[in-house]
Symmetry: C2
Subunit: 91 residues, 2 copies
Amino acid sequence: MDDLDKYIEKRKSKSPKFAQNYEKGYEQFKIGALLKEARLEAGLTQEQVANKLKTGKSAISRIENHAEDIRLSTLVNYAQALGKSLKLEVA
Amino acid sequence: MDDLDKYIEKRKSKSPKFAQNYEKGYEQFKIGALLKEARLEAGLTQEQVANKLKTGKSAISRIENHAEDIRLSTLVNYAQALGKSLKLEVA
DNA sequence: GATAAAGTATACATATATGTGAACAGTGTC
DNA sequence: GACACTGTTCACATATATGTATACTTTATC
């Protein structure tokens, strides 16, 4: 089980709503976890990312923890702030 | 040159703004084209997709032609309406 | 246990995506 | 040309993501 899986398990145990939606297949809930994982790999704090995106750290926290939904541009910007890019596919 | 490329070229020639943003690398502009391509492959009209998503056909047209930005949930729903799924990656 | 750094939670304001309906345009068929 | 079908554009209303500031929590270090 990798770090992302561990994180998901932790979120599930702490939040019934998260667990319920996650099991339903709403993997959008994974997005926040993905971004957080990518941020930590880049060795950045939420505040550092916030500064790059010219916003506050609370906004970053919200994205990582409560991103039931998110704008595509926000995803793209977040990825860019980490020096990465967002790949999309309809398959 | 595949159909999507042809479509992009057509949009570029008709809309300077589209061309400009596209060349800048704002590939979000590709999203609408991607969705349209997927819809046509599935053999569905905009109205059919609109019905599945319980919305109007004008909303579908707008997404395909003027989706400078779009919500992740909208992308996911659209893909589902076509019997497909959305793949995301931060790389 | 005091302090600082990092992250979370909340509330309100603002920006913007989407819903909705109507009018109009393009395309093909008769 | 009339008709039906498909897609586009517009305006307005509504829903919701994000900006912003503040307070609180957690964790680590001393």
